[in-house]
Amino acid sequence: MSQSNRISGGQIDRSKTFRFTFDGHTYTGHPGDTLASALLANGVRLMGRSFKYHRPRGPISAGSEEPNALVHLRSGARQEPNTRATVAELFDGLEATSQNAWPSLKLDAMAINDRLNSFFTAGFYYKTFMWPAAFWEKVYEPIIRRAAGLGALSKEEDPDEYDKGFLHCDLLVIGAGPAGLMAALTAGRAGARVVLADEDFRMGGRLNAETHEVGGQAGADWAAGVVAELAAMSNVRLMTRTTIVGAFDHGIYSAVERVSDHLAVPMAGKPRQTLWRIYSKRAILAGGATERPIAFENNDRPGIMLAGALRAYANRWGVAAGDRVAVFTNNDDGLRTAKDLQAKGVDVAAVIDSREGGDLLPGIRHLQGTQVIDSSGGLGLKSVTVRLANGKTETISCTALGVSGGWNPNVNITSHHRSRPEWREDIAAFVPGTGGPAGLTAAGAANGALSTHGALLTGQAQAIAALTDLGLTAKAANLPKAEDAPIAISPLWYVHEGKGRAWIDQQNDVTVKDVKLAHKENFTSVEHLKRYTTLGMATDQGKTGNVLGIAVMAELTGQSIPATGTTIYRPPYTPVAMGTLAGRSRGKEFKPFRLTPSHKWAAEQGAIFVEVGNWLRTQWVPKPGETTWRESVDREVLATRRLVGICDVTTLGKIDIQGTDAGAFLDKVYANTFSTLAVGKCRYGLMLREDGMVFDDGTTARMGEHEFVMTTTTANAVTVFRHLEYCRQCLWPDMDVQIISTTEAWAQFSVAGPNARKLLQKIVDQDISDAAFPYMGAGNITVQGLRGRLFRISFSGELAYEIAVPTRYGDAMIRKLMEAGAEFDAIVYGTEALGVMRIEKGHVAGGELNGQSTALNMGLGKMVSKKKDSIGMVLSQREGMNQPDGYRLVGVKPVDPKATISAGSHFMEIGAPVELASDGGWLTSKVYSPHLGSDIALGYLKAGDQKIGRRMRAVNFLTKTDTEVEIVSPHFFDPEGERLRG
């Protein structure tokens, strides 16, 4: 069949024909169609299955509130689950399949749930599946999980790209219906910076779906004219296919622009969607209203839809949802559907109007004081049964029924800051309440002005008000003439007749019966109702069902609707793809890389790199013939200790600290004293947090009377700098101290080993003999004429220096060092060898600097000077941090040198039972020491300082190892430090 339900008119381009498939069948449609309008045009009403009962379903709406017509759009890695057919823009070659049905949409085996519906009432699962206890995970839950869920992910990487951006404006207008267009026009003409966003691909809102005139022309044409005028203004930005999804603090809104979703695949380099953060001074919500159904028995059959949607399909898309239609309404707006469809030559069987009296529609069978009490039709509506005013019932055959229970203003975004909507009796609906996002007002139907004139009027008024706030003047132009009919609603929420189920939340299968059960069980608070029945928890956040559910509960409790309460909508307004929220930050671009000055050289050497924060550092540099990482690391360690090794240490934080109070400042931020440090010398510094725990450590050099260079650990470079600024600005604001980070300005290399001096002397222009440049010396030097810095410090325990040159020369420097070092067989060592050597020397690092340890724990207690005030000094003296049997840093080695131990193992006394009481502490870091020929480790051991020489066990339950170890001094290697002074 080919578009058998396509009728005349509409805003589709009939000159072009698109071919598309749904569940493998090929259909045709036109540009301007949605998937839903095209399927309806082809006579397809069945588009999905409900969540719990797997009831056959068709679209009930023509917009983003759709709860039923959810499909898999596209296929393979681009498969999009739960996509609303009612907003999916048709393109040539579109591919869609049904979801949540097996083996097919027509014959869904899970529809058995519908037969068993009397067991599957609200919350039934809380009352059963409890015995036997073990059965939940093993039996019940797997079945439930398989049955639950709607669409499926492909489990393949999303091939599309996503973008993000920032927009700024005086006025953000949300929605481009009559109110939004009028607001944007008013503000645009006044010269304000305006962003007008609409989720639809065509601006105009309801005007595109109605036949009313505006200013003497068709509403849609008037809208097009306004859009054209706005498009010509440089101060107005028009954004179609853009949904404002969230309202955040201080006028920031998030918006999703569907850049490429109307194409088969995005154009090269273009994102699929863009997340915009819109910074607005003022905003107007003109998001219109959403029609709500009336609940009656079997009100969920394909073909039964909202009256406004039935009308929209006819007017905007030239589609008659059925060959014979009827309308069920409790207000005048519903009557429009009958009029419009009849005018388009569609057979209108009857208008079932629950209200008494009033004018009868001419030329249409207008039944007043009547209600629909049931419907028939397995996979699609065949007829409705009506209770007539005279008490008789009548069955009216029809394939489409338009239902109108009134209109709910789209207050969603006004409640994103948890402001509660307020009830308005005259339109029987909630309107935006007070306390919404600052700077946001609502206009048009979103604010309860349901007529076109009301929309134009309030749109203009709100724009003028917003601009006045901003000190801009906007003129009130003459409004175009438009209908101003009241909705004349007399509320009917659900039809009381009938024993069957009457749906409120169609996707989650919440029926009037469920609300009654919730009431019976005292889940009467609206929040309890929602959580117990899952009302409003579906992908539409209850846009069509919530108010209905509240109204039913109100009837049951005898309270008014406002007294019963409201649930507030939460961001996002419509669901947002995770990819869009992540933007470009995925894969390797999740976080930026930081490369060291010697990276290029190291890569040439085939170095293995390791992530250290955002840095990539050389982990080790394999030599030909080396088959395991251990071989390489052992060689690097031994070569460094025997000859000389070079390591890029640029990643360590470097902070220049200058000013006449620099020394006094360092005395405040370091636990030990620096004001006494001589110019040209450096000193190891220990930095505490105010709570007395060790924060960071490093060597700091005095380059001049008022000039220091501080080194931090790689990990804390940023936080230490932040802390110094805090101390400088907040705690001691009058100190003459200026600080700036120089971490990246200098390429710094450690040159360590017996030949370190010989090597460096070849390229350093000054005399660096032990006499001229003693241990812990520091100074500005030149390297073959290039300005540099030299520090005689050692992390490895060898005679060692750190030499720095401007970063751009770092690559040249590493090549020079290797060249100059050739005669000493100099090698480059990476972070692994660095780790081995620092543990051999018992220097604390990551595993020990864990933010939970005191100076005392690390054996550095004496460094905390009590003679001066410094951060952390006072609280480091608390009793709990000074217990004699507290943790102390110790060295550990296996009694059997061939045995392996692992970091994270816990200490236990030999023979002690394996239980918490025996827990003596843990191994913090472990390496293999080629020098000692065995594993060695550092650890925190209770009263460790009193247990040196003791034998214990290192137990690791995770690897099932239990190794006898000896507790030794953490200084495994050259404890007297002769080598580094050599």
């Binding site: 059963t128 959580r531 992908t539 709570d691």
Partner: protein, 416 residues
């Protein structure tokens, strides 16, 4: 009324006429032996265990809103006992053991589902830290395993193994970890407490405390004065507000934590997973929604909503870890107010006011603690001494320097 499969079937066949209210709506009495302030998970569990395990009577729970409307109704439903420090692990393991028998105990299916939790490892240092943690867990009678990269890959092949910024090197796994249907926990405890005579009083906000000669006499409420011999406060994010009525300043800040759920999806993730290189953790609910979260927003807040940067940050972590969720849609975001303590660990202790007891500082770890928190608080209220697994949760640990700082971040709540 006892719930069972047979009851459900019987009611189904008779039109569900027999169901009774899950709890009463009693008017407050003039005086109680125990008033629990806060009808969230911890308050309801406290009342339940006070009545059931400690055989106490004349108990009321005062809730300013509706039962279970606090963080127990707005969290990511994870249960686990994979803590590092001795002050915490015994308590959380006690809690996990209570979870394991909870449904039979209170005759309500809270869907306790032990599908396993893994903490991904991305660096050798992380593996060392998790090894220390895993061993500590086992010493405390919990379960822990170290998984290698291949084991993780076998479990979740769609994680980013081939193009990751921070490679997945393994994981610490606790198989007994999992999720629970959060609302059902509140309702199960409420129903169980109500059945045992506890008065659950909703829409009753505490506006003051009557303290005479250093002793609590009762509380002023929006529904009038209610006398009490003992008052236990368990109000999470509102801790500072309520305890201010007793003139107390707490080592607690209130912060907003956002949580997220996607549209319903067919089974994708079996268990719970945390991403060690980004701010992201995720599980999938029985209904099919991916439930996930990340960091707190980071500023003091009493607004149950957050801002966009954290939402983006969490999504970035999610996409970096699972590039296959790009086309899954975020359905809802919401915020809860966390009682962030100064060391990231809770307080269950007496106060300087005789008869006034405090339970708070749960940060964003309160849900998993619900059963043990209720049990231990009931123990303290009934016996005036701390339960053996909660002895470290004292106010004075900060004065004595005995902090329980799992993250090693010091006295900065927004970093815990």
């Amino acid at each position: 009324m006892r719930y069972s499969g047979f009851r459900v079937i019987a009611e189904a066949l008779t039109g569900h006429k027999g169901w009774k209210p899950v709890w009463r709506d009693p008017a407050p009495q003039a005086e109680y032996d125990y008033i629990i302030v806060g009808g969230g998970g911890h308050g309801l569990a406290t009342a339940y265990y006070l009545a059931k395990e400690f055989k106490q009577a004349r108990i009321a729970v005062l809730e300013k809103g509706y039962l279970g409307g606090g963080n127990v109704g707005r969290n990511t439903t994870i249960i686990r006992s994979n803590y590092l420090l001795d002050g915490n692990e015994p308590f959380y393991e006690f809690s996990l053991k209570l979870w394991e028998g909870l449904e039979q105990d209170f005759n309500y299916n809270a869907m306790v589902s032990q599908r396993g939790i893994i903490n991904l490892i991305h660096t050798d240092a992380q593996r060392d830290a998790f090894t220390r943690r895993g061993n500590g867990m086992i010493l405390n009678g919990a379960d822990a395993e170290l998984l290698n990269r291949d084991q993780v890959r076998a479990m979740y092949p769609f994680l980013n193994f081939d193009n990751a910024r921070f490679p997945i090197k393994g994981a610490l796994m606790q198989r007994r970890g999992g999720t629970v249907r959060h609302d059902a926990v509140a309702w199960g405890y409420a129903r169980g407490a109500d059945m045992r005579g506890v008065d659950l009083i909703q829409n009753c906000e505490v506006t003051g405390m009557r303290i005479e000669n250093g002793r609590i006499r009762g509380v002023e409420t929006s529904r009038g004065f209610i006398g009490a011999k003992k008052v236990g406060v368990a109000v999470a994010g509102s801790s500072s507000k309520v305890m201010a009525h007793a003139g107390m300043r707490l080592p607690i800040e209130s912060h907003v934590l956002q949580a997220f759920v996607s549209e319903g999806l067919k089974p994708f993730i079996a268990g719970v997973m945390t991403f060690g290189a980004g701010h992201f953790y995720v599980s999938q609910s029985d209904k099919g929604g991916l439930v996930f979260g990340g960091d707190i927003d980071g500023y003091n807040s009493y607004a149950q909503r957050g801002n966009l940067p954290v939402i983006e940050d969490v999504a970035e972590g999610g996409m970096a870890l699972m590039p296959a969720i790009g086309r899954a849609r975020l359905l809802r975001t919401w915020g809860g107010i966390m009682d962030m303590s100064m060391d990231g660990s809770p307080i269950i202790d007496k106060t300087h006011v005789e008869g006034l007891y405090f339970n708070g500082g749960w940060c964003y770890g309160g849900f998993k603690a619900t059963p043990a928190s209720g049990w231990c608080f009931a123990h303290l209220l009934a016996k005036d001494e701390p339960h053996k697994t909660a002895t470290a949760y004292r106010f004075d640990r900060f004065l004595k320097g005995l902090m329980i700082d799992e993250k090693g971040q010091g006295a900065q709540p927004n970093l815990h």
